[in-house]
């Protein structure tokens, strides 16, 4: 647009002048037309080099958009959360894993209780009439079914989580035992190397003397054999001692492996018993809690035969309103429960060493930030797109590209677009 304005600014005075001088009007028009054809503006859109084609480096334009600082802030915040999630965490001890698993189970339990409560009936509303009683019973049955289903899911979840915790503990204990065994084996190897070196050093002078004798050409065959035998005996003596130590070490290592295996198995069994006991306690606690809630849902039926018609109508309205609200609340409760459960699943996975994504509050924050970032990016891109289309039309381009790898021809519309976007927000 700025270029069109510059053309107008340049030639309109000439046009007016030519109006005054009617004899030169045709010539002025011709000159003006020729000037336009020549493309006296610095963009000759239809030149051989441009041929109506332009391109935009959208990424560069985005950096000049007035909202870019906000976009960058959001990008930095997202990168910060991802960076924190990817940081190496100190390995947890079995006790820590068990404690955190318990905490997460408690959170899952709370989420399910909240869901059951939200799907239940307000006891204060019960007892208004037969219609309400019917609804109450239906809802109590629905709640019981939902609670039963939740309980079954919880049972499966708890067992799966405890199995995972048990597997993780067993892996850690086995790894610790392997590390100990490896350290012991390395120690034995070191001892064997030390002994071999010590023996070689002790016998070095004797070995040297024997080898020197062997290199003497004047030895007879018998003498040479005798010296060779002595050298062989020396090597054998050293090898026997080292082999004896190696055999003793191998036996000791075998015994140590057995001992470690027994210790590890005992530890795993102890942890297993403990976790199974915890699982049983958690399940019975959950069964009791759900049972208590369901017992609290039932309301004493109220006789409705003697109710006057207007009260019945009012009860009908209340019933409809109540049913609608129940559906909405239940839906919301289910959605909230699913979101919480999904996040807790991620936390369980992270606890057991799987996945490096952000969890808990950080995951929620990450989702919010990503949504805001997407929205803002879209808003910026849409505006750039609109302005690019407007500029392209005004300047007479036939096609405008983004994401160009090289451009020996065409016109780079990027700077015009940056200027245009910046000037709109000044």
């Amino acid at each position: 647009m700025s270029k069109m304005h510059s053309i107008n600014r340049l030639y309109l005075p000439k046009l007016k002048l030519c109006h005054l001088k009617s004899r030169g009007f045709a010539r002025a028009c011709v000159i003006l037309a020729a000037a336009v054809l020549c493309g006296c503006s610095h963009v000759d859109v239809h030149s051989d080099k441009v041929r109506g084609v332009a391109y935009v480096r959208v990424d560069d334009v985005i950096k000049h958009h007035p909202l870019y600082p906000q976009l960058e802030q959001l990008n930095n915040a997202i990168a910060s959360i991802n960076f924190e999630a990817s940081l190496p965490h100190a390995p947890l001890t079995p006790a820590q894993i068990a404690a955190q698993t318990k905490d997460l189970n408690a959170q899952l339990h709370d989420a399910e209780v909240a869901a059951v409560k939200a799907a239940g009936i307000d006891p204060a509303a019960a007892g208004l009439g037969q219609a309400m009683n019917t609804t109450s019973q239906a809802q109590a049955q629905a709640a019981a079914a939902a609670a039963q289903q939740n309980y079954a899911e919880y049972q499966r979840g708890v067992i799966a989580q405890d199995n995972a915790a048990m597997q993780s503990i067993a892996q850690q204990l086995s790894k610790a035992a392997d590390d100990k065994l490896r350290a012991r084996a390395e120690q034995y190897q070191q001892n064997e190397s030390d002994l071999s070196l010590k023996l070689a050093q002790e016998d070095s002078s004797q070995r040297m003397a024997l080898r020197t004798q062997l290199s003497t050409l004047a030895l007879t065959a018998d003498q040479r054999k005798s010296v060779s035998d002595q050298l062989g005996a020396l090597d054998k003596k050293e090898a026997d001692q080292v082999n004896a130590l190696r055999a003793a070490d191998a036996q000791a290592l075998l015994a140590y492996r057995k001992q470690l295996g027994e210790q590890t198995s005992a530890q795993i069994r102890a942890q297993q018993t403990s976790i199974q006991a915890q699982t049983g306690a958690k399940l019975s606690q959950r069964r009791d809690a759900v049972g208590a809630q369901l017992r609290g849902l039932g309301a004493a039926p109220v006789a409705t035969a003697s109710l006057p018609p207007d009260v019945r109508r009012r009860l009908g309205q209340i019933h409809q309103e109540y049913a609608a609200k129940f559906q909405a609340d239940a839906q919301q409760a289910v959605e909230e429960y699913q979101a919480t459960k999904s996040d807790l699943d991620a936390q369980f996975a992270a606890l057991h060493g799987q996945g490096v994504t952000a969890t808990g509050a950080a995951a929620k924050q990450l989702r919010d930030l990503q949504k805001r970032q997407n929205d803002l990016q879209m808003q910026i891109q849409n505006q750039i797109q609109r302005e690019a289309v407007r500029l392209a039309k005004e300047m007479g381009f036939s096609v405008v590209f983004d994401n160009v790898q090289a451009a020996p021809g065409g016109y780079d519309l990027t700077n015009d677009l940056i200027h245009d976007i910046e000037s709109q927000h000044e």
Partner: protein
């Protein structure tokens, strides 16, 4: 009066001759684009992809079971290759015919509209001919599709396969070095991040970390990128191309200069 008209006409013609071919060069009108995501949403594609996803889920179970039974690394590799082949065969069986039909439809529509190049909608900001509707109609039609009689006309829009260029030894080495640098820097900045007492200092650590990575990237990769861009531009100029786009954005036609750029880089 007549003499004045003739002199004016001569002036105009003179000017026209002076500006020569620049003013009479034809604008590029043989560029088409297609919304590939709309094609992917066609019921036939959606159904094929669903079947493929179901097959993959079933295959994953079998793969896991087979891998559990593998005793050696060679066994594992053999099993991996076998399952990859099975998946690839199924993909060809389910999606292959649809993909071929779509390619033929694009070629036929492009030829009938005399387009020299068709690109993905994502890279067209303004102008061009949208052939999405025509291609969808052709794909949906029941009649058999023949190959177009003529190949696309030479195009002023070129393309280069960026992924092929990124496979060069130099680029791979630079990428590996960058990854190693990143892996080495992460624990250093992780420690600083942990010690940061408030959000402002954490943000500062993040900014420093990003800057360190970006600086290294500029040091290692930017020279290679610049070199590639220069080579691409030189080749494009020698072939009288106006613009060069990435191969991934080209659906039909265009002028492939990948090999020429590779040759120029290897000189």
């Amino acid at each position: 009066m007549k003499r004045r008209f003739l002199s004016t006409l001569a002036l105009v013609l003179g000017l026209m001759a002076a500006i020569g071919p620049a003013a009479i060069a034809a604008d590029l009108t043989d560029v088409g684009f297609i919304d590939q995501s709309a094609l992917g949403n066609l019921p036939a594609f959606v159904s094929a992809n669903q079947q493929l996803a179901a097959y993959k889920a079933q295959l994953n179970g079998q793969f896991a079971a087979a891998m559990r039974g593998a005793r050696t690394d060679a066994d594992k590799q053999r099993i991996s290759l076998q399952f990859q082949q099975e998946f690839s065969d199924k993909q060809n069986e389910l999606v292959g015919p649809l993909y071929q039909r779509t390619q033929l439809a694009i070629a036929n529509v492009s030829t009938s509209k005399k387009l020299s190049v068709v690109v993905d909608k994502r890279i067209v900001i303004y102008g061009g001919q949208d052939i999405t509707g025509d291609v969808i109609n052709a794909v949906r039609g029941s009649q058999a599709m023949a190959s177009p009689q003529a190949s696309p006309a030479p195009s002023s829009i070129g393309f280069v396969d960026q992924s092929a260029l990124a496979n060069s030894t130099d680029v791979k080495n630079a990428s590996d070095q960058l990854q190693k640098f990143q892996a080495a820097q992460q624990p250093i900045y992780a420690a600083r991040y942990k010690n940061a007492t408030n959000e402002v200092s954490k943000q500062q650590v993040m900014a420093d970390y990003n800057k360190a990575i970006q600086d290294e990237q500029s040091k290692l990769l930017k020279p290679l990128v610049d070199q590639t861009k220069t080579a691409t531009a030189t080749v494009a100029r020698s072939k009288n191309l106006l613009l060069v786009v990435d191969r991934a954005d080209v659906v039909f036609g265009g002028t492939d200069i990948t090999q020429d750029v590779q040759n120029a880089l290897n000189k």
